[in-house]
Symmetry: C2
Subunit: 867 residues, 2 copies
């Protein structure tokens, strides 16, 4: 097996083997860009080294051969005292992990070769500067001597010499420094700095390989979801020197502006410097435009190369270059990171320039980041320090005065105060306060807690589960360590990052440019999977349609019960002593629900609307307020003690796994009958009065066993049949698939269903055995320790939840391959999840209105990838 | 297809097609037992009739043919006015459903044929008695006229005639009654009673088929878990008459005593009667011994037949016979129902008699019922009416005075009072009271609620989830409708049936006979699957060993924390402000846990002991008592408000899905480290002092992701490695599989485990999305409506949970087919579940001590069935 590749032997397609840097160095070499010669040791060698602790048997010979080939090409030899070959040793995995792994520059220097370098370069000072840099870097990276020790010695030397900058140290200072650095190594490690260049190389390669497994790199991969890579490649490359004098320099550049996407060559450079000086920030680099004025021929060459590279790679490039004594060398090219806004612009511009196809343009934008374009954001210029961190539950930014109850939020907001509602956790009773607030902050709950889900639905900024704040609602204050925030104090939330700031912090309204709209149109042309929205009210539906929703994938009917006028009736219904009172309460509720549905159907027109029948446990509707309780007791003819006992009896130990969903429908079929009646009345009247027929899909929640659906389907059908030939709309009856058992018995359940819709929030909770309301207590620790790479509620867990979904789809479509299956969990608006949904053949994804563009783009990308 | 079989054409192997009764009539015919001739219409005809509403096309012709064959054989014809053939029409499915479906006797009579019958039998009275019986039965069963109407007319007639008994009515009375019965039918149905015998037969067959779907039959099948049957067969058989005079009679008999199992021919008979008279109880039947004295030749013949049948069927038989004018006919034989005690005795006796093999003996006892032999039971002679019903959570019976707190239970019991502890639900804090009480009654919680699990573990009677009782612990009373039970009142619990009685009800101590021991020995010879116990204390272990446990499959370490002395330390550990206090508390706890393990290891000797590390959420350990809270605040340096806030912050919305199990291990590794230290110290000292080496399996609970186990395995291993070469015992490190995701990613998890153990309690809860603590609210309704056939916690749900288990076993053993997998959920002691565990290849089942004999027998039966 070939373990080492000259740059001439590789290409951009070999990223897995040569790493991103190595593959791109090879590609540049191939297309005639000036790259200092070198070779790449493959990622497979790293894997074997890390797994087994030693190298493949053929490696040493191959390495020796490539060194000799490099020496021949350069006409220089490692360790040659008169004209030494110096090399850099750089890491580079298949996926970029900037700054995470180790690099050694100027390798090959020792007390002998430094003299040769001095002679050849004509500068003692330069040669000694390289030498001290090498010892410093080798000592830090390879020999693991603390970086600080060298920096201390350097600082002392500058003081001693009475100079400010490293560049002001003279040859003698540097010579002394070299000796001091050597001693630092000897003192700290008990061994001398190795003088043999081959030994230096061997140790450096090992150090790079080992850096693959350092905690920083491991954490980085975890945080960024980088899995399945064998290891890092190692690039050994002839040194070119940006620090060889005033005609030398180094810089970085982007082929377009990474912030705005403008087609404008963009970058910075420093003369007489090595790359690390730019990074370290000790000297301020100059904008690339100055290079154009000062050294136009170099600028022109660089400009030509960047144009060539962008055209070749068909993407915006991020370049590193070095000028050695007037000659331009390129050291790296890669696809440049960019803001979402610029990604959209670049994709559209490149399509207009004829550089890429629509499909390529669509693939160029990270779907998950699209949400950033739809919410106001904390200004990038704001210099605010966060006082607490939580989960970035709903993106955007909001400032306002702190209040602690939904009623206060409502009241203050009605006085035109902007407020932030702060709760331990929110519940459906808080909805009116959540509508009134500019943002929501909770100390408990995860990415799919009530607060998070509702806020994303409303497009409202939310920081959830900020576990280091103590919410004292009674005392109307928040305590964060020593900081106390009282009612009325102004705070600012950053829902995009999950941060909380004191006072008001400036925000910006991002522009949703025309390019965004074009990209969305292209996505719609390409995608085949439908995109629906989760929406419970006509206003939400309008927002969703604006963002491109093609139907409602989940309309939760319970939110309709929380209106002040209605909740009292709901409570009477739940607590009634006899069937008559109960039936009366249900009859009172019906017109409210009917009118809600009329509103929704009118907005959605003929688009499909999935209406989920009552889902949450009944106790969620019950009051805690003593006054309300006594009023109810009086109206229903109870003693207060009795009604309290009934309410307490409705309490559940694990309400998520309790008496809810279709279990309510089985025990209280009259509730579902009322809801179906309301749906029918509404659909009949809208279909009659408008120019379209309503398409409603009646959804039974939380089915775990086919009999549940069989019985409730009959309840629904019988209610519908009461309308006889008044039925003038289209309907289906189906179920939400949100429990493992429903997936495992999907064939049995499908016999009684016209459609399925995955409720991946609950499915994830039960598959993992994790409550989204409680995970805040251990998820931070889980992410820190790398147990989970992310909150499991964020995207579909392919290993577990995804496997169940696949089983479900296969079973459900055993007899009818066209059986309709969608998804309405929050994950329906997460890019990777959408792609998975396409892969297993779902008909649609449904998500909160503000996630719809994400879903549209992800669905298009899935189509392109599958094709 | 053949739809109708003469008895000569069938055999006992054709139960599925001919039903149990039909197959046995055929078999008796085959082996020369006198059976009135007849034929059987198959269960498939029933299925087609029920599904499609009409008969298979060939059916009518086949039926006609068989009727003619029967007529020829009998030398009589249906409807022949001079010598009519009369027949019975009886249902009979493959599984016996006694009394659930319909029967019509004396079919073929009308105003003409009754005369022929009178002439041929020489008795007008007899013929008219048959006629009125026929009209009555036909009217009730086929024409659906209320039974009561006929009974009223009969009673009136007896009054009019001035007689007591039906048999005292004379021919004239009966003639009048026949006319009255006909009028009842006409009045109630508007149509006349059909006189054509073929029409009578057609309607009767239809009625039997329809009775397959009557609610009574459907419910019976649901309650008894009878599924997958096509329908009932119909047996049409020439009538023989037990009511033809003083030389006629009818009776039922068992080949052995069904209560005790004694080998003694056992039965009852009535002369001059039809079978319904015996059943109706209007006349008291005589013991079979009287037949021996009165009609020895008939007795001898019957005795000979019963011997022949028992030998032929190799099982205790339940017979029906009729004597017609001195001739003995057998009308039915089937395997007799028996008590568990008699089942054990019969199995052993039959083996000793050389009638059956050990394997057949083992198959003859229902494993699930074995538990009955191990607990005191409500006396079968007690005539107590239950005042409330709950779930039969832990079998047995107990009487005592009602108390409402664990402390009261403890205190009263220490005064030698027998008490019943009544709670809404129990928690680990109640353990001392549960130990002290004779029985436990709860108003909430299911078959695997805390109360249920702990009681079964203790072998203590428990009725759980008695939802119609209102427990008012403050007021120290129970309210059940109008009944109030106060503290100190005596009640009796029947944990076998789930019933509650007022006052003390007599109980009996069943004898665990020597036969039981023999059967267990045979089971151990046959079974290959190991049987372990779930036990947390040396006393439980001793009981378990007595019942045959071969190891501990689950030792829960948290129960060890609830002792009064320890709970305070545990609380300090949880609530401590700084790591030092916390570490000190853990160090204080260690010796307690160590000593617990020493006790257990000493009892279990070298047997494997699975020790589960801490599992429940921490808040379960925290106090609610204000006094305790202030003491803790003082000791730990908090303000009371602060400590209350911390305690409230530990509260979870869904604790079952919260911060528990290995999630605690990840966030607080020091707890697990302390536990491992205690295990090691204990195992080292016991292995050193005794003649065996301890075998401990350290189990990490609630793993949903391989990384959790990977990290915690390292924690455990590092702690063990601290003991260096002091380790003188054997250990494994593994995990409990109790979440769907663990099953779905079992291959990944198995890489870090030496063993798996299914925790099917939690696995069932998460697969169904049902909390065992909350299911009481809807499960009764679910069972009533046939959604579930039983509480899903009772046995492994093969369609859902079982499928996950199968996936898990396959994935886990992909690389290592010998990978150890067991089960420790309560289902490990349920017969069908044990059989399923064998089928998927588990190494052992583990259950509470009192279920061990069930598991041993079920494991043996599984082996026999698989072979």
């Amino acid at each position: 097996m070939k373990h080492v590749y000259l740059f001439e032997e590789g290409s951009r397609d070999m990223k897995d083997l040569l790493g991103g840097k190595g593959a791109n160095l090879a590609e540049m070499t191939k297309i005639g860009i000036p790259v200092p010669p070198g070779f790449t040791i493959t990622t497979e060698v790293c894997k074997i080294f890390c797994d087994e602790g030693n190298y493949p048997s053929a490696f040493a010979d191959q390495l020796g051969l490539k060194i000799r080939e490099l020496e021949e090409k350069m006409g220089k030899k490692l360790g040659d005292a008169s004209d030494p070959l110096l090399v850099s040793v750089r890491s580079g995995a298949a996926v970029s992990m900037p700054g995470m792994m180790d690099t050694v520059l100027n390798l090959g220097l020792n007390d002998e070769t430094v003299k040769g370098l001095a002679e050849k370069s004509g500068s003692h000072r330069f040669a000694l500067d390289c030498y001290r840099r090498f010892i410093q870097m080798f000592g830090d990276v390879v020999m693991e001597v603390s970086h600080d020790k060298f920096e201390e010695a350097l600082t002392a030397k500058k003081k001693e010499a009475g100079v400010e900058s490293d560049t002001d140290l003279n040859a003698n200072d540097l010579k002394e420094l070299v000796e001091e650095f050597k001693e630092i190594i000897l003192d700290n490690k008990g061994v001398s700095f190795p003088t043999n260049p081959l030994e230096q190389l061997k140790y450096s390669i090992e150090a790079v390989f080992k850096s693959w497994g350092n905690p920083r790199a491991v954490t980085y991969r975890k945080l960024n979801g980088i899995v399945g890579l064998p290891g890092t490649a190692v690039n050994v490359q002839a040194m070119v020197f940006g620090n060889m004098g005033l005609e030398s320099g180094t810089g970085v550049a982007f082929t377009r502006d990474p912030s705005t996407g403008e087609k404008e060559f963009f970058g910075e450079f420093l003369m007489n410097a090595q790359g690390e000086d730019v990074v370290a920030g000790t000297r301020t680099p100059n904008p690339i435009s100055e290079l154009k004025t000062e050294r136009p021929h170099i600028y022109n060459e660089l400009f030509e190369f960047q144009e060539k590279l962008e055209k070749h790679y068909k993407d915006m490039q991020d370049l590193e270059f070095t000028i050695e004594d007037g000659k331009l060398w390129l050291l790296q090219t890669r696809n440049g990171k960019r803001t979402t806004q610029s990604a959209v612009k670049i994709a559209c511009d490149m399509y207009d320039e004829g550089l890429i196809t629509k499909e390529e343009a669509l693939m160029m934008v990270d779907a998950n980041q699209l949400g950033q374009l739809l919410h106001p954001q904390i200004s990038p210029n704001a210099n605010a320090d966060s006082v607490a961190r939580g989960l970035p539950a709903s993106p955007g930014a909001a400032s306002g005065r702190v209040v602690f109850t939904a009623d206060d939020a409502h009241e203050w907001a009605s006085r035109d105060e902007k407020v932030i509602l702060v709760r331990k956790e929110t519940s459906p009773e808080d909805i009116h306060g959540m509508y009134a607030a500019s943002g929501i902050l909770t100390s408990q709950g995860g990415m799919t807690s009530h607060a998070a889900v509702v806020c994303r639905g409303m497009g409202k900024c939310c920081v959830a589960g900020a576990s280091d704040i103590m919410v004292n609602a009674k005392g109307k204050k928040i305590v964060i360590g020593d900081t106390v925030i009282n009612e009325g104090d102004v705070i600012t939330l950053n829902g995009t990052k999950g941060e909380v700031y004191l006072g008001e912090v400036a925000t910006v309204e991002p522009k949703v440019s025309g390019d965004f709209g074009r990209l969305m149109e292209w996505a719609d042309q390409v995608r085949k999977m439908e995109v629906r929205t989760n929406a419970d009210a006509p206003e939400d539906c309008k927002v969703a349609l604006k963002f491109g929703a093609e139907g409602i994938g989940l309309c939760r009917t319970e939110h309709m019960f929380f209106d002040e006028e209605r909740i009292h009736i709901v409570r009477k219904m739940i607590l009634s002593k006899d069937d008559e009172v109960r039936a009366k309460a249900l009859a009172e509720l019906m017109p409210f629900q009917r009118d809600d549905f009329v509103g929704i159907f009118k907005v959605m027109e003929a688009r499909p609307v999935v209406v989920r029948l009552l889902d949450p446990p009944l106790h969620e509707f019950l009051p805690e307020d003593a006054g309300i309780i006594s009023r109810l007791a009086e109206e229903l003819g109870y003693k207060v003690g009795e009604i309290k006992a009934i309410i307490s009896n409705l309490h559940e130990v694990n309400p998520m796994l309790g008496h809810r969903g279709c279990r309510l429908g089985i025990t209280y079929p009259d509730i579902y009958e009322m809801q179906v009646e309301a749906i029918c009345e509404a659909a009949i009247s809208v279909s009659r009065d408008c120019e379209f027929d309503v398409n409603v899909e009646i959804e039974i929640p939380l089915v775990s066993e086919a009999n549940e659906l069989k019985i409730l389907r009959k309840v629904v059908e019988e209610k519908i049949s009461e309308f006889g030939n008044r039925i003038n709309f289209n309907y289906k009856i189906g179920t939400m698939i949100e429990l493992p058992r429903a997936c495992l018995t999907a064939d049995q359940i499908a016999r009684h269903a016209d459609f399925f819709s995955f409720g991946t929030n609950d499915l994830t909770q039960t598959t993992y055995g994790i409550s989204r309301d409680d995970l805040g207590k251990f998820i931070p620790s889980y992410i820190d320790k790398g147990v989970f790479q992310a909150d499991p509620m964020e995207g579909i867990d392919l290993d577990g939840v995804g496997k169940l979904m696949k089983i479900c789809v296969e079973l459900a479509r055993k007899d009818d391959p066209s059986f309709e299956i969608g998804i309405c969990g929050e994950q329906g608006g997460e890019s990777n999840s959408v792609k998975f949904c396409k892969k297993i053949g779902l008909n649609y994804v449904s998500c909160s209105p503000y996630r719809i563009p994400v879903a549209r783009l992800a669905a298009a990308q899935a189509e392109i990838v599958n094709a």
